[in-house]
């Protein structure tokens, strides 16, 4: 059982829980930054990529002669020139044994599979000269039919409908299923649906998860230095360790000869959780020329060729009793992989597979995903990665159920959610949730919003026929984060483990180096990890130096994604620090001339129980460094490592409430208020947590209201610049009210839960539920994301006359394995 706890009274004296200002900021606010693009090395050459303008085409010729004659051009190389030295870009997670996976050359020489794919690289003495010459490379193409629409691609055979890779004979990559009846974690969802059709409620809907672009602010950049025996790559990446492994595995360079550095990295959000063609090409060019090489993408290239996220159709069937008690939930997804199966690839929807039941006690559940290849930019992780899609689906459906039953959406949720006294709770998806208190978070969020008052205002506006209607959106979310127990990843056929590594080094001067295998790109690890180590060792916050993001400095690690840094990486640091204390203890006892059993450690000091004798840990560190007087057989080092493999995922949760005003005459939306109460366990630094929540909220809200990667009918990305891809500005957003309830996680020492993705996972359905809630009385039960004023207006003006344009519409055809029609409700009060 979990309880909501007050913060300990001594929290102010401890580092953990303090709103420490960030150590990172001094250099970032003064411009003393180390972005990859800032790096200049002697003799460095600069790369520009020649990219395909066509979504699918055969390359018939590449004429590089004019480009080679251009001023200060060193060389122009094609895939044929570079050959096997290019290596390949890999998929680390084949989700089924029979997954259809196209070979992904970083620079194909015969055929391009998406607009933006690289066909040649120009190497010049300056970036401008490289780009000038790239314009002179003359590539002839035979344009091929392109697989673009996800549903059409899923049904395509080649004879009918284009194939993204004709040689594969299909666009279907993998079909992955979880069925609670088969897994023994619940009943048969088909039985539940059949029963509900005769004596209950069945709600069927289809929702669209539009394609999004991570749009980190720092464009991706790579520098490779082949000088000397070791090759060094700097890259704007979230995953220096995985990158090093993949370079070694695919390019024939021994791992021991490779050093990868992620210096200051300007945001990622999953978008830099990738091993990219651009990195592989820069690597191959630098090795070929024996000179340092740099490639920095333009924003247009970043939007076009950096991986995208989401892009799914979700077909959902919810079965319930007439009182709103859910009896089963069935999920069928189509997921667009784009042109290649990326690093995580089809694993993204699978990461969501365990979350569609969310915080609820569903007795039966089935999830199936068909991943599909198309001739569009490849997709992979974007903040939340599978879990925002899951949360959106279930939270939209719970609102639909509430509307059907005629109950308040929060009441319907409470009827179905896991009660706080029921933790730990094993879900129908087979996960064990360790802790949570949905009642407490919801009560607090309702109070923050003024829920009852706004419901009253909503009624008044409806009754008076106010042209501006008020909608209140609810999202009670949970997520699985802290990726991940290695055994679970193994059972899912993921290509690596989920452990994390840390080292704590005690320097002779009493300073401490804390080395982590996680790799920050804006999260504030240097600050939060300093707080953890400072508390653990009883040293000053300022005396801890956190080192990361360089495989030579932090040789072991699995990097940063999936809200894992604190709950996995932080736990590794705790364990390494505890080992330091254990190693110091016999030395302290020896120096204090006491028995080890009589020595205790507290507040940075070893003391002899029952006496006033003691030594600070820094003194022990110096004595160990000098090594003049150590106990026999004790090594002259306190330094310690720990590799921690989490025993479980980690389950933050929260209640997000959003009030939106909809002008029914124009479709214009106004965010009026957004509040959330997140339970992320114990908090290390509330200031950093608030920042993570705020930023996450806006990314999730942006999916609901603004962002979409749009392709035209020939497969050109038309939202290919910041003019067209609508990243929200300060003027689009509002200030937020956030708070926390606390049920500590029981699966890590500090009781923490992840927070990096929470805001994004929770906020999208809260906003769309609010928009739909504002106009539901007009006969509308869905508006497709992004809910632009145009779509809202069309929904309103088309309401009552059948399906609205822009609303999610039925049909997966039979060939996708999904049959029947969607967007209908049977049973319930209105049936």
């Amino acid at each position: 059982m979990s309880t909501t706890q007050e913060r300990p009274a001594d929290a102010v004296e401890r580092e953990i829980g303090r709103d420490r200002r960030r150590k990172e900021d001094q250099r970032l606010i003064t411009g003393r930054t180390r972005w990859t693009d800032n790096i200049t090395l002697p003799g460095m050459v600069h790369l520009a990529m020649v990219r395909s303008p066509f979504a699918h085409a055969r390359i018939t010729s590449i004429d590089t002669a004019a480009a080679k004659e251009s001023p200060n051009v060193v060389d122009v190389l094609t895939g044929a020139d570079l050959g096997e030295s290019l290596g390949v870009n890999i998929n680390a997670w084949p989700i089924t044994p029979g997954q259809v996976t196209p070979t992904h050359s970083p620079m194909p020489s015969d055929r391009v599979a998406f607009a933006g794919e690289i066909v040649a690289v120009v190497i010049a003495r300056s970036p401008a000269e490289a780009r000038d010459a790239a314009e002179l490379v003359d590539v002839e193409y035979d344009v091929l039919p392109a697989a673009l629409d996800l549903k059409e691609a899923a049904a395509a055979t080649g004879d009918q409908g284009a194939l993204a890779h004709p040689d594969l004979g299909t666009n279907k990559s993998a079909y992955w299923v979880f069925d609670s009846g088969e897994a023994g974690t619940g009943g048969s969802v088909e039985d539940a649906i059949a029963k509900a059709r005769t004596d209950g409620i069945v709600i069927e809907r289809e929702y669209r998860q539009q394609r999004l672009i991570p749009a980190f602010m720092e464009p991706r950049s790579t520098v490779v230095d082949p000088t000397g025996e070791q090759l060094t790559m700097w890259s704007a990446t979230q995953i220096p360790h995985i990158l090093r492994f993949a370079l070694a595995a695919t390019t024939g360079v021994p791992e021991s000869k490779i050093r990868v550095i992620a210096p200051d990295v300007g945001g990622g959000f999953g978008g830099k959780l990738q091993t990219t063609p651009e990195e592989w090409i820069t690597w191959a060019v630098a090795r070929r020329l024996g000179k340092p090489a740099k490639y920095t993408e333009t924003r247009s290239e970043s939007l076009m060729a950096g991986h995208h996220g989401r892009d799914q159709w979700q077909r959902l069937t919810l079965a319930a009793e007439k009182d709103g008690t859910v009896t089963g939930f069935k999920v069928d997804l189509l997921a667009d992989l784009g042109a290649y199966v990326s690093l995580v690839g089809g694993g993204i929807p699978v990461l969501g597979a365990f979350m569609y039941n969310s915080i609820y006690k569903f007795p039966a559940y089935r999830f199936a995903v068909q991943t599909v290849l198309t001739n569009k930019t490849w997709t992979d992780a974007y903040r939340g990665a599978g879990r925002p899609e899951a949360t959106f689906a279930i939270e939209r459906m719970m609102d639909e159920l509430a509307a059907e039953v005629g109950a308040d959406p929060l009441e319907i949720r409470e009827k179905n959610w896991i009660k706080h006294e029921e933790f730990p709770f094993t879900t129908v998806a087979g996960l064990e949730y360790d802790s949570g208190n949905y009642e407490a978070a919801t009560a607090r969020a309702k109070e923050m919003l003024g829920y009852d008052e706004l419901r009253a205002e909503q009624r008044r506006r409806r009754e008076s026929g106010d042209p501006v209607q008020l909608g209140i959106g609810v999202s009670t979310f949970t997520e699985m984060c802290g990726l991940a127990p290695s055994r679970v990843l193994g059972s899912l056929d993921y290509g690596a483990g989920g452990w994390e590594h840390a080292s704590v080094r005690m320097l002779a001067t009493g300073k401490v180096e804390a080395v982590t295998g996680t790799s920050a790109h804006g999260q504030g690890h240097e600050t939060a990890f300093s707080q953890i180590v400072a508390d653990r060792l009883g040293v000053a916050f300022e005396d801890v130096e956190v080192l990361h993001g360089d495989t030579q400095v932090a040789p072991k690690g699995l990097d940063t994604y999936g809200s894992r840094s604190l709950v996995v990486g932080g736990e590794a640091l705790v364990r390494a620090a505890d080992k330091v204390i254990e190693k110091a203890k016999p030395i302290a006892a020896h120096l204090l001339e006491a028995s080890v059993d009589d020595v205790e450690f507290s507040g940075g000091r070893f003391s002899v129980r029952g006496t006033d004798q003691g030594m600070a840990i820094g003194e022990i560190a110096l004595a160990t460094f000098a090594a003049h007087n150590l106990p026999d057989g004790v090594e002259a080092s306190l330094d310690s490592d720990a590799t921690y493999d989490p025993v479980n995922f980690n389950y933050p949760h929260g209640t997000h409430l959003c009030a939106v005003e909809v002008d029914t005459e124009t479709g214009a939306l106004k965010l009026r208020k957004y509040v959330c109460c997140d339970d992320i366990g114990n908090i290390i630094n509330p200031l950093i947590v608030a920042g993570q929540v705020h930023g996450g909220l806006v990314q999730g809200i942006a999916q609901a209201l603004w962002e979409e990667a749009v392709y035209d009918e020939s497969g050109t990305l038309v939202s290919g610049s910041f003019v067209d891809y609508l990243l929200p500005t300060a003027a689009d957003t509002i200030s937020f009210e956030i708070d926390h309830t606390t049920t500590p996680s029981t699966t890590n020492t500090l009781g923490t839960k992840g927070v990096g993705e929470a805001g994004t996972i929770a906020s999208t359905p809260a906003v769309v539920n609010a928009v739909v809630d504002a106009v539901r009385h007009l006969g509308i039960n869905d508006i497709q994301m992004p809910c632009t004023p145009e779509r809202v207006w069309k929904a309103i003006t088309g309401a009552g006359g059948g399906p609205t344009e822009g609303a999610a519409m039925p049909h997966f055809d039979a060939s996708t394995g999904m049959e029947g029609t969607v967007d209908r409700t049977t049973g319930g009060t209105d049936a």
Partner: protein, 156 residues
């Protein structure tokens, strides 16, 4: 090539430049002023914002030759005598940055905003920063930082 002479962060510099060279490229590639960064190619993101004769400009939208004779201040020249500018201090105090890539431009634009409007409302701050994109903070704490720098203390 055209000869230009200007003052950047208090130092006088003079160079032959191509007429097409952007001010931001001049700052980064010729002067090593890498504190100023390039975030887009359509002048939407504002990451490259500097002050040209005391007024904020997107340095990707100004040719180096247009800066001839001018005084340019970048994020690297904002602190004086080791003392952070109040806006820099406020960004740190209010956690108005995460990855920090938009921060140089965001700070330079905020300084300009406050020069023109020392006590802006929240709405005026939001409108004044509309040309600067941030992907990390959701703008909440950036707005707080500008409020704090303006002496209208706001808790983060």
């Amino acid at each position: 090539m055209t000869r230009i002479s200007l003052t950047v962060d208090g130092a006088r510099v003079s160079d032959d430049v191509e007429p097409r060279l952007l001010l931001v490229q001049y700052l980064r590639e010729r002067l090593g002023k890498t504190g100023t960064v390039i975030g887009c190619d359509t002048s939407n993101c504002g990451a490259c914002t500097v002050h040209l004769n005391g007024t904020s400009v997107k340095s990707c939208n100004v040719l180096a030759v247009q800066a001839d004779g001018a005084e340019v201040t970048t994020i690297e020249g904002l602190a004086t005598n080791g003392q952070l500018h109040p806006v820099q201090e406020a960004f740190r105090e209010c956690h108005g940055l995460q990855c920090g890539f938009c921060t140089p431009g965001m700070i330079m634009q905020s300084v300009d905003l406050l020069n023109n409007n020392p006590k802006p409302t929240e709405e005026e701050i939001r409108l004044g920063l509309e040309g600067n994109l941030c992907r990390c903070t959701g703008y909440h704490n950036i707005v707080r930082a500008v409020q704090q720098a303006s002496g209208q203390g706001a808790p983060a």
